[in-house]
């Protein structure tokens, strides 16, 4: 089943649904902001979002009232401070209460890999003496059947929809990404459906190396041409991270009124390049 080339509106409308488990990945790099904004515009509700580092993108979705639950490992504005929409949802239930399923990075990364591998759970070494194990019932321990050593298990991540941004796709829908590749390959392979927004659609991929990071067309549901779709995050080889926008987000996120202004503006425009 080859990927369909669709518009952003079509791709989001086709694959998202209220209550869906959605992973939007990109470890600092290649964060699919344009797709996130389209989800806000289409007004999906009660999403269960998954992401290692919620970042500004989930702060926006949470503040917009799209989110019921969050599975994550680090919820801050990197190098800047808090994600205040995320904090208000947890601390004050505003705009709606946010259920959290909290893990460490190692656990989240392993859980994505487990999802991609068809495993029911990820098993690794971790959480030595950490309190997270006490407050999250989805962290369990087991013993190595050979040495008896304590190992930790968490459920695999199997999103209904994974959304990522990548540099290139071919017309057939094969996708290539490069640079900090994070957990995107795993997040796509773990999902029931995957949407990939890209900077460029080319006739043929010409990978720089036989071992380049490629997602074949038959692992992707929809490819969408969205130049600038990762801004204010960045796309290696295309544009840099807009660190100033991240610093400026602090003031917007901190203030409900400013955030609501930002939200109204977003809803009244098509995606910004």
């Amino acid at each position: 089943m080859q990927a369909k080339i669709q518009t952003l509106q079509e791709a989001i409308a086709t694959h998202l649904f209220d209550g869906a488990t959605v992973a939007m990945e990109g470890f600092t790099h290649l964060i699919p902001f344009a797709a996130g904004h389209e989800i806000i515009r289409q007004g999906f509700k009660n999403l269960e979002l998954v992401r290692m580092t919620p970042d500004m993108i989930y702060d926006q979705l949470i503040g917009a009232g799209c989110v019921r639950k969050l599975r994550f490992s680090w919820g801050g504005n990197p190098g800047v401070g808090s994600l205040y929409r995320l904090r208000e949802a947890i601390e004050k239930g505003y705009p709606q209460p946010l259920e959290v399923d909290e893990h460490s990075h190692a656990a989240m990364a392993a859980a994505y890999a487990a999802g991609a591998s068809g495993m029911p759970c990820a098993i690794f070494k971790g959480y030595y003496g950490a309190d997270l194990e006490k407050v999250n019932p989805s962290i369990k321990t087991l013993a190595c059947p050979f040495t008896g050593e304590r190992l930790v298990a968490v459920p695999a991540i199997r999103p209904d929809v994974t959304i990522i941004h990548a540099q290139k796709a071919s017309k057939k829908g094969d996708v290539s990404l490069e640079g900090i590749v994070g957990v995107q390959k795993e997040a796509v392979l773990a999902a029931k459906a995957a949407i990939v927004t890209v900077e460029e659609i080319v006739d043929e991929l010409q990978p720089s190396s036989p071992n380049a990071v490629i997602l074949p067309s038959w692992t992707v549901s929809a490819v969408v041409h969205v130049p600038g779709g990762a801004k204010p995050s960045y796309a290696h080889g295309y544009y840099s991270r807009d660190n100033k926008a991240y610093m400026d987000w602090e003031a917007i996120s901190k203030d409900r009124e400013k955030f609501n202004q930002w939200l109204q503006e977003l809803k009244s425009t098509d995606y910004a390049v």
Partner: protein, 254 residues
């Protein structure tokens, strides 16, 4: 030469790094300290960021853990699952840096919540890489500004484990890494006392009084038998750090 307390902490932290170290670098002060070490006495130090960038030599400090600069100057960049499995859990990293909202005298750190987990007064960012950094790096250095709110008798939540509440607890858990071994603050350097697992002051920064240290510590702080006076930052160190910070500021204001 004049310097501020952030500069002092950064310089002191950079000095304890060796050319042969493989460091798992966090953003903020650890990133500044590690890159300062690389630009001064440890040119071949290996810096790894959890975004997957291995042996990176950024020209400016990254704002995030995955700025493009890190990848462009790295020997190679691996996926995040590989970073946490083969490199961190695999025991390849000699030094990890941690900081946090709260730390106790056994080096247990809280970056998760102030107050109750289920009804937090302040929801902090959470653990991220920290729980496993604390477990698998051969040793851990902590950099934190000292205050009674941060240096507490008991952390509200153990995000990353230090020495529990006494010596030898790590070993009993099957960990053969040393855990937090030094805390660098704006006032002093603390080190783990082997017999008790407790942090005690081993070096005081120039001009700091013992009372000031106690006032900024939420537990009854103890001092080593022989306490050193920390060497003040040298001219070259400060110049290198300020140049780095200036380049960074210009880059981030874009």
């Amino acid at each position: 030469m004049q310097y501020n307390s952030t500069e002092l902490m950064t310089v002191v932290a950079s000095r304890i790094l060796k050319n042969s170290d493989v460091c798992f670098v966090g953003i903020g002060l650890p990133s500044a300290a590690c890159n300062l070490a690389r630009l001064t006495h440890a040119p071949d130090i290996t810096l790894i960021y959890e975004s997957g960038t291995i042996q990176t030599k950024p020209d400016v400090l990254p704002l995030s853990i995955g700025d493009g600069e890190l990848c462009e100057t790295a020997l190679t960049t691996v996926s995040v699952p590989e970073m946490f499995s083969y490199w961190l859990q695999g025991g390849r990293i000699t030094v990890g840096f941690l900081g946090g909202a709260q730390i106790d005298k056994f080096g247990n750190i809280n970056t998760t919540v102030v107050g109750d987990y289920y009804k937090p007064k302040v929801r902090l960012p959470g653990g991220g890489g920290a729980p496993e950094i604390a477990a698998f790096c051969h040793t851990i250095y902590v950099i934190m500004k000292q205050s009674p709110r941060a240096f507490v008798d008991k952390v509200d939540f153990i995000t990353s484990f230090g020495h529990g509440d006494g010596p030898d607890q790590r070993k009993a858990m099957g960990l053969n890494t040393s855990g937090p071994s030094k805390i660098i603050t704006d006032l002093c350097i603390m080190e783990t006392e082997e017999a008790t697992g407790e942090f005690i002051v081993t070096s005081i920064h120039p001009g700091v009084a013992r009372e000031t240290i106690q006032e900024n510590t939420g537990w009854k702080i103890r001092f080593a038998e022989e306490v050193a006076i920390t060497d003040a930052p040298e001219l070259e160190e400060l110049e290198a750090l300020r140049l780095l910070n200036e380049k960074t500021k210009m880059a981030h204001q874009g």
